[in-house]
């Protein structure tokens, strides 16, 4: 279906859809599982399968749209019936805040990340890498480490998620050696 758009303002000589969206890293932060290209394929090729979105939510920021405070309050419940995977972090801090400092080796300014919105190392690592502008192949040369309550520095993925979240004090991205 074609439609004449009355262009009051127009970019000089633009042909919007010839741009290769895939290459622009636009969907970097949401395309967690690199094998499942169904999502960005869909925009270009007019075909997509619903199945390719199955595990998608795990990597999407802010989806489904449940407010952060609601997620937090629901998460920290004693007699809840959620799956073990959902019984993530709660308590251990006097404040309601679940923000943790994140540093990167060689970068002066630290950032902060809300740990309560993550349920897996995958989404956490992806978000942190994006925060520090590390893309694609470069990601392999970094490791996520954390300092626990006892002050020891450990490799994040060496422990189960729940243990990690409960003992987490702050995070640091370091270059992997070897």
């Amino acid at each position: 279906m074609c439609m004449e758009l009355q262009l009051g303002l127009a970019l000089p000589g633009s042909d919007t859809w010839s741009r290769p969206l895939l290459k622009l890293g636009l969907y970097e932060d949401i395309n967690v599982n690199r094998k499942k290209r169904g999502f960005d394929h869909g925009y270009l090729e007019d075909e997509f399968s619903a199945a390719s979105f199955k595990n998608y939510e795990k990597g999407l920021v802010g989806w489904p749209p449940v407010e952060t405070w609601r997620r937090k309050k629901l998460r920290c419940q004693v007699h809840n019936h959620m799956t073990a995977a959902e019984n993530g972090y709660c308590g251990g801090r006097a404040s309601n805040s679940s923000y943790v400092k994140v540093k990167m080796e060689g970068v002066v300014i630290a950032r902060k990340i809300d740990i309560s919105i993550h349920q897996s190392f995958e989404t956490l690592t992806t978000t942190i890498m994006t925060m520090f502008d590390i893309f694609d192949e470069n990601r392999r040369s970094f490791k996520l480490t954390y300092q626990d309550k006892e002050g020891d520095w450990l490799i994040a993925e060496d422990v189960p998620w729940r243990t990690f979240v409960r003992s987490l004090k702050c995070l640091k991205l370091i270059r992997s050696r070897g």
Partner: protein
């Protein structure tokens, strides 16, 4: 001489007439009739509403309305609720407080939504406004209990302190003790967002005891069930009550205490809280259920049978917030028991699970739509939907004013026909002629936007995610929705064409949010240059947008109309596109 006679209505008479006009829309209309009405109106406006704190500067507001007593400000875009707006984006209230502190010593009410409020701001409020009465902070952050202590200590006439859904640095529960023993004017207190640690029960009890006008009390999770009886005993006049944690060892004395004290609250109309509920204690609230008009069980992780029992005791319910544990069966009971229901919100108990954990489908929503003739506002999370269900819902409930449907998995098709849900949502906008707010989900093509542009003439707010095929979709909405004020879009293939073609429309709206779409940096620059009354802000944590090719899509875009010009408090990851941006950034 004749002209003068026609307009010689004395100012005082007009002022008196205007005093009956409370809504901002009407006040704005009144002020545009003629210059003299503008002048009279501005001097007698007592309540100011600023929907976007960056649309106007504090000084401009103060200059125009020299005698307001109440201000409401909103800051961050709505999608900030879902973590889409990075930390540090803005929405600071301090500049407003600072300006008003000097100009308005008689300010009485401040209502803020999604703003950053510091302890410094709270201390300034406490110090500057001697007759301060109402502080409502909705989804705000940046302050601690120290700031609250300052308010408690100084605001002798405080009537309302409401901290709904705020992010508070809970340093100490003893801030409550800062209310002097002589202070008795509290009418409404909502501290449900405060931390789960130690709480000052005795200070709370004493406060409740001496504030005999207390009508609303929403406690935080730290208050245990056995303490509630002590608190409620002193406040049988309560109309709205939020429990703390609703769990305790099952002891008969705790139960009977609770049941007894609740049944003596004859005015109770609204209940909330219910963290950590154990079903054994639920029947304690049955005696008050018949009078309840509002029930918030959205944190209560109890199963359908208990929810059904509870709901069937509440025939006068008008507003229900609940988790999807209620299931279709529970919603069917709701539909037959609660004929006065006006608003329903069903939240997901397991939003990230791939498989449904409860038996809640589109059937529940259909049942409620068919059974509740007054239903007008719905927020519903589910995992499947059909066009057939949506059409049934639309036909049976044309009085919807707010319809927000979230099918949890993006791009889910009609589960019966595997088609897009265009026709279903099309029916919603076609039949519900008074629809003001709509949130879409599921598999949707440009067609649904064509329906929206054609029929949704009263629509003021639209939320879109993972929908559409091309710019045509966005064009339909921008060119067709006459009443549109707020549009928020994420992950849709909308680019430059529709945006640029409808640039003028953006000046008639409060704001437009687009994230993970296909709007290029070049288009943003162009828009910023050509539309001086729009603030075009690019949010991009990857770095300066001009470090990438111009035709690269920006990560996030927030456009809003403003007479204050570009703001100066932007963090490093926000760039404003204004008239000079073309020169500055090249």
């Amino acid at each position: 001489m004749h002209k003068k006679m026609a307009f010689s209505f004395p100012d005082e008479v007009l002022e008196h007439v205007f005093s009956f006009i409370q809504s901002d829309k009407d006040r704005n209309a009144v002020s545009m009739v003629c210059k003299s009405w503008y002048e009279i109106e501005r001097w007698c406006r007592r309540k100011v509403f600023v929907g976007n704190c960056y649309a106007v500067s504090p000084r401009m507001v103060i200059r125009r309305f020299p005698e307001f007593r109440s201000i409401e400000l909103k800051g961050k875009p709505h999608f900030a609720d879902f973590n889409l707006v990075p930390d540090g984006w803005g929405g600071y209230v301090f500049p407003w407080i600072a300006e008003m502190a000097g100009a308005y010593p008689w300010l009485e009410e401040i209502r803020l939504k999604r703003m950053v409020v510091t302890d410094e701001s709270l201390e300034l409020i406490a110090k500057s406004f001697k007759n301060f009465k109402v502080l409502v902070l909705s989804s705000c952050e940046g302050f601690s209990t120290d700031g609250l202590a300052a308010i408690a200590a100084s605001c002798k006439n405080l009537k309302e302190l409401d901290l709904r859904d705020c992010e508070v640095d809970d340093l100490s529960a003893h801030w409550l003790s800062h209310f002097p023993e002589t202070y008795t004017s509290l009418v409404s207190l909502n501290i449900s967002c405060l931390g789960s640690d130690e709480a000052s029960f005795s200070a709370l009890e004493r406060l409740v005891r001496r504030c005999t006008n207390l009508k609303t009390l929403r406690l935080n999770r730290a208050v245990p069930l056995d303490k509630i009886a002590n608190i409620l005993r002193h406040a049988p006049q309560l109309v709205e009550f939020g429990t703390g944690t609703y769990t305790a060892d099952v002891r008969p004395d705790v139960y009977s205490d609770l049941a007894g004290v609740l049944s003596s609250c004859k005015e109770l109309k609204s209940l909330s809280g219910f963290w950590d509920v154990i079903p054994d204690y639920l029947p304690a609230i049955y005696p008050v259920c018949s009078k309840l008009t509002s029930l918030n069980l959205s944190y209560a992780t109890i199963q359908s049978p208990d929810l059904i029992k509870l709901v069937s005791h509440c025939p006068n319910l008008q507003r229900l917030l609940v988790l999807d544990y209620i299931e279709d069966s529970g919603l069917e009971v709701l539909a037959s028991s609660c004929k006065d229901l006006q608003e329903l919100r069903v939240f997901p108990s397991d939003p990230f699970g791939a498989e449904p954990n409860v038996s809640l489908t589109e059937q529940g929503l259909v049942a409620v739509s068919l059974g509740c003739p007054k239903l007008q506002s719905v927020l519903y999370f589910c995992r499947r939907m059909s066009n057939e269900a949506l059409v049934t819902i639309a036909r049976s409930r044309p009085n919807f004013t707010r319809f927000r449907l979230c099918i949890i998995e993006p791009k889910t098709a009609d589960y019966l026909t595997l088609e897009p849900l265009d026709v279903g949502f099309g029916a919603i906008v076609q039949y519900c002629k008074d629809l003001r707010r709509l949130s879409l989900s599921g598999l949707l093509t440009d067609r649904v936007f064509e329906y929206i542009g054609t029929y949704a003439k009263k629509l003021e707010m639209l939320s879109v995610a993972f929908a559409g095929d091309s710019d045509l979709g966005l064009h339909h909405v921008l060119s067709g929705c006459e009443s549109l004020r707020k549009l928020e879009i994420r992950d849709c293939p909308f680019g430059d064409k529709a945006l640029l073609a409808n640039a003028a429309k953006l000046e008639t709206m409060r704001s437009l949010w687009m994230s993970s779409c296909a709007v290029s940096f070049a288009a943003c620059k162009l828009l910023g240059q050509k539309m001086p009354r729009l603030n075009v802000e690019v949010i991009d944590e990857r770095g300066p947008p001009d470090s990438r090719p111009e035709n690269c899509p920006v990560d996030k875009l927030y456009i809003y109309r403003s007479i204050a010009g570009p703001r100066f408090d932007m963090p490093p990851f926000v760039w404003t596109m204004d008239e000079d941006s073309g020169l500055r950034l090249s």
